[in-house]
């Protein structure tokens, strides 16, 4: 087993609070939901397992009362997660759930794109289900423009289907999460007020002061 502190990105001897915080962050980062339409989902699973083991190990060796509660929370993550890996949690489809559709879903999940595409091409109707599956396939292949178009089409054709909506909203969530990531957004030199804003604000403040008989900047 790797050094559990290292796995959680902590220094040796970190406090319980620090461990919990790091653990929560990492679970968010490697959560199966975040890697659902990504070809590397199995590796994310491995990573999460490692994190769980490290956390478990550290918590076992910490004598504190909250431990039990924490572990329960953690097993929930694991459970969810195991459900996902067997495939039962993934596409518990409520759509046209014929064997044929299920087969295509499985092929996409296992990265067998050629076979999946062949079966899609053979489908007689281009309905919402077809668009949804085609969208998923493109998403996993890295053809994002078409993936997005097909998923939208699926939602348009069958607006009441939550499965299709979920897929589309996952795409948008991921897009926004990266685009407005905290490292980039709201941090750094770009977000501060520029010279114009500063001068304008000062001038306004000065004018208001003068209206009320005071003075903020004496030279103007």
């Amino acid at each position: 087993m790797k050094n559990p502190y290292e796995v959680l990105g902590l220094k040796e001897g970190a406090s319980v609070e620090e461990i919990k915080k790091a653990y929560r962050e990492l679970v968010k980062k490697y959560h199966p939901d975040r890697y659902r339409d990504n070809p590397l989902s199995d590796l994310a699973e491995e990573k999460l397992r490692e994190i769980n083991e490290a956390y478990d190990y550290l918590m076992k060796n910490m004598n504190n009362n909250q431990q039990k509660q924490q572990q329960q929370q953690q097993y929930q993550y694991q459970r969810q997660h195991q459900g996902q890996s067997t495939g039962s949690g993934y596409y518990g489809g409520y759509s046209a759930n014929s064997d044929y559709v299920y087969q295509i879903k499985m092929l996409i999940q296992n990265g067998n794109f050629i076979q999946a595409q062949r079966m899609l091409d053979a489908m007689p109707v281009r309905d919402a289900t077809w668009n949804y599956l085609q969208g998923l396939l493109f998403l996993k292949r890295g053809w994002y423009e078409r993936a997005n178009a097909h998923l939208r089409r699926a939602v348009e054709m069958d607006p009441s289907n939550m499965e299709y909506r979920d897929a589309l909203s996952r795409v948008n969530t991921q897009y926004n999460a990266y685009r407005y990531n905290p490292n980039f957004y709201g941090a750094g030199y770009r977000q501060g007020p520029d010279m114009c804003q500063i001068c304008g604000t000062l001038w306004c403040a000065d004018s208001i002061c003068e209206c009320l008989g005071g003075d903020l900047i004496s030279c103007c």
Partner: protein, 293 residues
């Protein structure tokens, strides 16, 4: 490779900038050894990034020295010592530049092409011998790309596929381990996609002027009545979606890597540098290629 991959410089610490530049110079030195001093002119940032990323997966500190070089003789600067990552990146740089120059000649009859090829010929021969399969794979993808360009492919996804696949191969081959190779491959694939589409957006104006192929112009049906700028504005959001979604996939793969050093520099590139670059190209179009450090 076009040199789009750079850190967001104002946000770097000074030592971070020097280390990044150290990798850039390290790749440059390695190229000079293989292709001679004249072979250095094709150095790109993208390969500096490749060296930085690969080396950051290795244990141990960064090793480098303050050295003088031909191009900056007045002041010593920090240059990373040659190691397997730097060597690989310089090989790739030579290989891809050679093909790029070949394209220039074939597509535009640009005289830079044969001149550059003559300079790189020796180095290219060596590299090709070293990685025959990789070179063959790259050539296959490039000929697919030519085929798509020739028949004026009207899907940006399809048109960007060969270049993305080529980059996938380049990144995947960098490490022997299959597990890491897969992650690196996905980083490469999405970087390739991003570079290709960003470059296409960057070139809209030129391509429209001289009537050469551009996947965005074909897919989104440019009408000569609407003017270049309003066309760029019209498809901006669509291009932005593909670009940023590719980067978000890249970020996921990057999260799975076990980074041993230079984490802050890599984070700057992945979480800021690429986004800043995307925004600059989308907002201003051309003329935002940075000069070398």
């Amino acid at each position: 490779m076009f040199g789009y991959i750079t850190p967001d410089k104002p946000e770097l610490k000074i030592w971070e900038f020097e280390v990044f530049r150290g990798y850039y110079c390290g790749v440059c030195r390695a190229m000079a050894k293989k292709a001679g001093h004249r072979g250095r002119f094709v150095l790109t940032y993208d390969c500096a990034f490749l060296a930085l990323l690969m080396d950051s997966l290795e244990d141990g500190p960064v090793s480098g020295k303050q050295r003088r070089c031909l191009f900056h003789p007045l002041k010593k600067r920090y240059i990373v010592d040659s190691n397997s990552a730097v060597e690989y990146a310089s090989d790739i740089n030579i290989l891809l530049s050679y093909y790029n120059l070949k394209d220039k000649w074939q597509d535009e009859r640009n005289l830079l092409g044969p001149a550059g090829m003559a300079v790189l010929k020796k180095g290219y021969g060596k590299v090709k011998k070293k990685y025959p399969e990789l070179a063959a794979e790259i050539e296959r993808e490039l000929s697919r790309l030519h085929e798509l360009e020739r028949r004026k492919c009207d899907s940006i996804d399809e048109a960007s596929e060969p270049f993305a696949r080529m980059m996938q191969t380049v990144f995947q081959q960098a490490r022997a381990s299959e597990r890491i190779g897969k992650v690196l491959g996905w980083i490469g694939y999405n970087l390739g996609k991003w570079i290709y589409i960003l470059d296409a957006y960057d070139d809209i104006e030129d391509n429209i002027k001289n009537g050469s192929y551009n996947p965005l112009v074909v897919q989104y049906r440019y009408e000569s009545s609407e003017g270049v700028n309003s066309f760029r504005e019209r498809i901006k959001e669509k291009a932005e979606f593909i670009l940023i979604y590719s980067l978000s996939e890249l970020e996921k793969a990057f999260s799975l890597l076990d980074i041993r050093k230079n984490k802050s520099i890599l984070d700057n590139i992945i979480y800021r540098g690429l986004l800043v670059r995307t925004r600059n190209v989308l907002q201003m179009g051309a003329d935002c290629h940075e000069k070398s450090v």
